[in-house]
Amino acid sequence: MNVTYPAASFRQNATKPPASDPLLTVQNLNVSFGPAHSRRAVVKGVSFRVEEGRCVAIVGESGSGKSVTARTLVGLTGARSHVQADRLTFQGKNIDRLGDREWRALRGKRIGFVLQDALVSLDPLRPVGKEIGEALSVHRAIRTRADLTERVVELLNLVGVPEPAVKARQLPHELSGGQRQRALIATAIALDPALLIADEPTTALDVTIQAQILDLLSETRQRGKAMILISHNLAVVSQMADEVIVMRHGEIVEHGSSEQIFGDPRHDYTRGLLKAIPSVRSRGSRLSSSTAPRFISAEGETRALTQSNMAQRCSPLLEAERLVKRFRGPDGKLRTVVNDVSFRLGHGETLGIVGESGSGKTTVARMALALERPDQGEVTLEGSPWTAATEKERRQRRSDISVIYQDPLSSFDPRWTIERVIDDALARRSGNPLDRASRQSEVSELLDLVGLSPNFRTGRPLELSGGQRQRVAIARAIAPRPKIIVCDEPVAALDVSIQAQILDLLGDLKSHLRVSYLFISHDLGVVHHLSDRVLVMHHGVAVEAGGADDVFLRPWQPYTRKLVAAVPQLHFQAA
């Protein structure tokens, strides 16, 4: 029996007392992995219930046990797992100890499951129609081949896939991202299950597509089906859920109605999570609970204090002039990826570039770094040619502009220690070169600056967590004392609390080192939180540019409007 959340408190939290037996009851669920001697508990004493027609959301960061909890309900926790519960009933039937055959009868037919990212959740070698048909034929719901085809088309139609008969014969990669996700949902609702579990159904999707998929899920719910929604995205959850369960480290930290959780979060963790979401409101404030680090580097402080910036602000640090970039596609055709994009980045300024996948924002970043040569137009750095210069000429000036990637791991030589990674960047610092000893002490200072203990010096990138890696990447980026740091989706792969820490760190460094950021992200909230000015890209074109507030709060381009509207908002924002 779970001590923290006894059954009694559970009842109290439930908004409506159950009229009859709930659809699903989970009581004191424990799941652990590994062999008996080194068993690792991932779900600890979790209890909840789902009533007919209700949507229960489970939120939490990676490793919180939310996905495992969901998978327990379809008996798919894996061969090495150990599941134990006081009570586990579905439709009044005990599903605690089911055999393989009984589980199979349940899956798809009574409980539908939607995974994230249809590109990998649909068999890439089978037509989507077959995948949908599989759900039908496995449970022998359909007799003839013709009926099957007909029903598949019907289902695709139902989930809003255009030209369903054609699409049914196509492979997943031939469909657009949204259509794919719709098809995946179709596989789950094919047999009209009583419960639909959606595990991060919109995570890999662009924000506009995400909005459509959420609409589709809402429709499903409106047909009276119960739903469990698993997500790390609180905003998404706030739009859909009747009840919210917040999980951390395998335990439920808070459980309540949507209104209560978002309007009046009781637990510190929940509050922290809500606060960590970057948005327009969070601008200028800290997202994480950490305090600003003490900055040791005297020189940096001096620079921060003494440099008069007004004069420099006038002449742009980096200027991109009508950039055009084309790539040859696999079919041999030229594709214009960036089309006539211009921008300026001033001293100490942060320019956010926002856009959905394929909008060309990363290519712009690479051209700013002169890693890609524009087909037309040029980038100038402090007024002198940058992309037009030869690589040899650029090499000396490269220390002026650094980069932080989305995936820091691949940007580290896996054989190198953290110390060597940073030392290598320090050696590039222009001006008076540092000797070996001072570089060593500098490495420690830089690690300290990004909030890592000197113990990490000897570690290797693979041994670090995602947030730690990104901190090392930042340390490397600032080591040569750059004037500009290009950040290409630096927090896209991180959990919201880690994301908050990294964003805070970036903010702290900006004010401390007086660098300028060229900040690329798909996340409008993140961009809005950090940027002074914003450039919105769509299909390679800069559709709108301006001050961050202007663009996000008063967009005048239809695309920008659509984009802003599609961002899920927290419905019950704490005051």
Partner: protein, 293 residues
């Protein structure tokens, strides 16, 4: 671990798991393989330490004796101790395997790195060359060399070395291309490092380290090829006790003195298996540390 798929922590958890597994477990087969490899290395370097009899001493009174306590693996038609002969042949077999693999990798490295780095028409020409050589079966190439140059240990080494090199050369090229495209090479470029510096600091070390595994795996295969030639009577001839030559000689006795055929074969297989197990283990370790899954 299938449950973790798709969640943001997947990659991290996966890698951590692998690193931990690698660090904790040193599987039993690897222990056994190491012991065998050590045995064969000693046999190659100091065969006298392991021999129980003089491998060349005839004992006309005890021909074709089955394995026993005196003759662990039996005796051959001249009463020579088979175990001691296998030990005596280890040096030659191993040096053929090592020599051929080293030659093969040397060719592969020079040409593969050149192709991978230069790109353009040089890459095209070299790649076609690898394709053409790759299309020629190793054994056939070896036979061509035998028919051209006659048989000798050096012909064997050249033939097997050349025959196996295109496969490695392709691999080296792909490795160089892979490393060239990694984030850290770009990061180094963005830091303003020179191409030369990047080549020596990043590309070469990272492209070559997977080849260490190939080297161990290659030795076993090279020995199998070379002994295949001896087996066809086109390699090393008796009275040398190179393993393939022993197999070739043992074949005629196989109905009545099975050990003469079975034991040298087991020696080859054991050695090849041992180095393969070690090679694969090292590969796994390297993958856990170096390559992303």
């Amino acid at each position: 671990m299938s449950f973790a798929n798709g969640s943001p922590g997947h990659t991290k958890a996966f890698i951590t798991a692998r690193v931990l597994t690698g660090a904790r477990m040193f599987p039993v087969p690897v222990y056994i393989a190491t012991v065998f490899t050590a045995f064969f290395l000693i046999a190659a370097i100091a065969p006298k330490l392991l021999q129980t009899h003089d491998p060349l001493a005839l004992s006309l009174m005890s021909p074709l004796r089955a394995p026993s306590l005196t003759h662990w693996l039996g005796t051959d038609q001249s009463g020579r101790d088979l175990y001691s002969r296998i030990v005596a042949g280890t040096g030659q077999s191993l040096s053929i395997g090592l020599g051929a693999t080293a030659l093969s990798l040397a060719i592969a490295l020079i040409l593969g790195v050149t192709a991978g780095l230069s790109g353009g028409w040089i890459d095209n020409v070299l790649s076609r060359l690898f394709d053409a050589l790759f299309a020629l079966p190793t054994l056939f190439l070896a036979l061509l060399f035998v028919s051209l140059l006659g048989t000798s240990v050096s012909t064997l080494i050249i033939a097997v070395g050349l025959g196996t090199s295109p496969g490695y050369a392709r691999m080296v090229r792909v490795q160089v291309l892979r490393v060239k495209a990694t984030g850290y090479v770009e990061a180094a470029k963005a830091l303003g490092h020179s191409p030369r510096g990047i080549l020596f600091k990043h590309i070469l070390p990272n492209a070559i380290s997977p080849l260490a595994t190939m080297f161990t795996l290659g030795i076993g295969q090279a020995i199998i090829w070379a002994s295949g030639l001896s087996f066809l009577g086109l390699g090393v001839a008796p009275p040398s006790s190179e393993w393939g030559a022993l197999l070739n000689a043992g074949r005629n006795y196989v109905i009545y003195a099975w050990w003469l055929e079975v034991m040298p074969g087991i020696a080859i297989a054991t050695f090849a298996l041992s180095v393969t197990v070690i090679g694969q283990y090292v590969q796994q370790r390297l993958e856990g540390r170096i390559e992303l899954p």
